[in-house]
């Protein structure tokens, strides 16, 4: 033995899963919705996705170079942020808008708060809401097959009928990545199988949205909603893509298990509230970023009791 030995505190093993492999899995899971978005909306969708990803990665790189921090674009987190922003945009937006959104997401929401792991809300969704407030008409201009029209969710809100099969397949107007239930479920299935996410947050979020939608419809005097209405709420808008890809964002969701339950119920309540009582047909993005802000509070009150503390207090284990 000539060389020096490594010494370190136990354990001497490390996980084979790394941050970059997790982010890569999320990016892979987003591919079905991206492909479908391009199929559904044509080349503009592809260009928007590429602009978002390129601008996000470039912003991260330039900022980290400027402030002399280690460059972290290799961890794929900026790629994921860019992809999530892109699928939340209509394919009709001018090309400068996705670039602006990505810069806002990475620079303002992520890097200025300390970089990976420190952002207090989902960067892509914060950027989407920023664009939605600043450029409302362009951000809600949904054109399908050359015809501008309401999204199924807006039609549902207006009391019109919707084609559920069309909504499931996604062949209708809407943001690039939110229309196809099928494509979303393929990606979500991949994340669940790879254990990148657990079903706890998305499952409870979706379920509670529907339950609160029923309750709020009854409370506001709209009466018991029909099955079509509820399925329309489930398939339409950003509920599914939001539940599986955005509400499950590690950084901005609670780490405690009971906290995750509270967070999911809060998301469901806010989404249903915005959709049923609010003026707009959609509410997923706002529900998620508002809940993101409350996460630190939720975590503070949901620290679990340690193993052996519950029963010990009750005096159950007296030999």
């Amino acid at each position: 033995m000539n060389s020096m030995l490594n010494v370190s505190v136990s354990p001497h093993l490390r996980s084979e899963t790394g941050t970059s492999s997790i982010m890569r899995d999320v990016a892979i899971a987003l591919l079905p919705v991206c492909f479908f978005g391009v199929y559904n909306n044509g080349y503009r969708a592809l260009i928007i996705i590429l602009i978002c990803v390129a601008a996000a990665v470039l912003t991260e790189f330039v900022f980290e170079k400027l402030v002399h921090r280690p460059v972290t674009i290799g961890d794929f987190s900026a790629v994921v942020t860019g992809m999530i922003l892109a699928i939340n945009l209509p394919a009709t937006v001018p090309f400068w808008m996705p670039a602006l959104g990505s810069v806002f997401a990475i620079l303002i929401v992520k890097q200025l708060f300390g970089g990976l792991g420190q952002n207090f809300m989902n960067p892509a969704l914060a950027a989407r809401c920023f664009l939605l407030i600043s450029f409302t008409s362009q951000m809600t201009n949904f054109v399908y097959d050359g015809v501008a029209g309401a999204t199924p969710l807006a039609a549902l809100k207006a009391g019109e009928n919707v084609d559920l099969l069309q909504m499931f397949l996604g062949t209708h107007g809407g943001c690039i990545g939110e229309t196809s239930v099928l494509a979303i479920l393929v990606g979500a299935g991949y994340l669940l199988v790879r254990r990148v996410i657990s079903i706890r947050i998305p499952g409870l979020y979706i379920l509670s949205t529907l339950v609160f939608a029923v309750i709020l419809n009854l409370v506001t005097g709209a009466g018991m909603p029909s099955g079509t209405y509820l399925l329309g709420q489930l398939f339409g808008g950003g509920l599914l893509i939001g539940a599986f890809f955005m509400a499950t964002d590690y950084v901005t969701s609670p780490i405690t298990r009971s906290g995750q339950v509270i967070y999911a119920l809060l998301l469901g309540f806010l989404t249903a509230l915005f959709r049923v009582v609010g003026k707009s047909a959609e509410g997923v993005s706002y529900a998620i970023i508002i809940s993101n802000i409350i996460v630190p509070l939720i975590e503070r009150v949901t620290v679990p009791k340690a193993f052996g503390q519950k029963r010990a207090k009750k005096g159950g284990v007296k030999a």
Binding site: M1, V9, S10, T19, S21, F307, R311, A319
Partner: protein, 446 residues
């Protein structure tokens, strides 16, 4: 098979195939033997010999230095060279008795005499175990005699034998169960004499089906001892986890297993009890696993306590290439070594030589808050929050987050995709809280 287990924990690559089929081989040492006076939990042992004395194999050379302490017996015959500080496995220098081995292995009087444990009283059995210097051989090193003397001996209803051996690479307990099942069972019967209302359960992970089968066959029809297969999951062999898996009872850091009516002993310890009580042989040898991809011939060796790690490694066929890391104990809770020139002590379960060190290869990156540490922690803690508190020296918060319940098993660090040293922060937090408590106590007294 009816498998039992505990909550959470992690699955590790076992790496046991390296040494699991190598039968235990006894190796004799020569030259200098070193016996650190602190190789157990509690007060250092007090030497009974002085330099120049001639000692015999099995002779007690140090007596317990307090209630929580342990005796030490010479594993060879020879001459006491000196008593001086020597480097130990923990990387500290501690007073140690150094004996020059004369190579004759002249036993002390009565050594090896067969004894019928049924003719001995519980008190006599406890005295024999204490004088034999037996401590928990799974790694903790807590005096076995003290552990076998709970306040409520008649209320103990479970004697649990830890045959989980959940650390990767380690196979010494497995080999002992396969090769010396009778000694294990007799050792259990000796201990059961101390606890009239106890039933014994041997917990074995289901990655050791041969051991489960062999012991189940040998114990068929036995009403006092049974075998319980356990799901292979780390840290199945943790005392609190094992008690939960087998009895469903939960204990925390403020309780002893005896508070839940349980006594937990490791396989090697039970065999040491048999050797001491039935064969008048104190604890002078132990079985070690020598393994890892940088070892020429991974194997299980019965070595004399006090021999140097280098001599054990040589007996195992030496190192292959240049290892990046050497470990005493398993990769999850073991200690990294910077030299092999240190003595084997009672708790030394293994020497592992790894050609690749995953710790150096995977530096920490920012926490992404994924919650894998929460899913891994068998104590149901939130290691991420504990690390933040400990790293900011916020020990009040650390305690509020139940940080003192941490068993330092390493699951959180091994599960972390950002490769953060969560366990290290928790150890620091616990040590700091304990230091502050001691200081507060001292301040109160003065």
């Amino acid at each position: 098979m009816n498998l039992k287990t505990f909550l959470r924990g992690i699955h590790l690559r076992e790496e046991k195939e390296l040494a699991e089929n190598s039968a235990i081989r006894k190796v004799f040492p020569d030259g200098e033997m070193v016996y650190p006076l602190s190789q157990h939990i509690g007060a250092p042992a007090k030497p009974l010999v002085k330099p120049g004395d001639h000692v015999l194999m099995g002779q007690q050379i140090a007596e317990p230095g307090g209630v929580i302490s342990a005796a030490i017996c010479s594993s060879v015959s020879g001459t006491v060279k000196t008593i001086e500080p020597r480097m130990t496995v923990m990387g500290e220098t501690r007073d140690a008795i150094v004996i020059e081995n004369d190579g004759l292995y002249t036993p002390v009087e009565g050594f090896g005499t067969k004894r019928d444990y049924q003719s001995l009283s519980p008190e006599e059995i406890r005295t024999i175990i204490r004088d034999a210097g037996i401590v928990g051989m799974g790694g903790a090193g807590f005096s076995t005699a003290v552990k076998l003397t709970p306040k409520n001996a008649e209320k103990i209803d479970y004697l649990i034998i830890n045959g989980a051996e959940c650390e990767p690479y380690l196979t010494s307990d497995y080999r002992l169960m396969l090769e010396r099942p009778e000694e294990l069972i007799e050792g259990i019967r000796v201990m059961l004499r101390l606890f009239p209302s106890a039933h014994c359960v041997i917990g074995i992970e289901d990655n050791k089906p041969e051991a489960i089968k062999l012991l189940s066959d040998k114990l068929a029809g036995d009403s006092k001892i049974s075998v319980q297969p356990l799901k292979t999951k780390y840290p199945q062999g943790g005392e609190r986890m094992l008690i939960h898996a087998i009895t469903g009872r939960d204990i925390n850091s403020t309780m002893l297993p005896a508070d839940a009516g349980c006594i937990v002993q490791n396989v090697a310890t039970a065999i040491a009890v048999y050797q001491a009580v039935c064969c008048s042989t104190p604890l002078i040898t132990r079985v070690m696993t020598i393994s890892g991809d940088a070892v020429n011939t991974p194997c299980n060796l019965e070595v004399f306590i006090g021999v140097s790690h280098q001599a054990v490694m040589d007996a195992a066929g030496g190192l292959k290439g240049e290892p990046e890391k050497l470990l005493s104990g398993g990769p999850m809770m073991g200690t990294a070594l910077f030299t092999l020139d240190i003595p084997v002590q009672k708790t030394s379960a293994s020497i592992l030589a790894l050609s690749h060190d995953p710790v150096a290869a995977n530096p920490s990156t920012p926490c992404i808050h994924c919650g894998r540490c929460v899913s891994a922690c068998p104590e149901l803690l939130v290691p991420q929050m504990l690390q933040v508190a400990a790293d900011h020296d916020d020990f009040e918060t650390f305690e509020k987050l139940h940080g003192m319940e941490c068993i330092e098993c390493g699951c959180c660090t091994a599960a972390c995709p950002a490769h953060r040293t969560l366990t290290q922060s928790c150890k620091y937090g616990k040590a700091s809280v304990n230091r502050l408590r001691r200081e507060a106590k001292a301040a109160q007294k003065s």
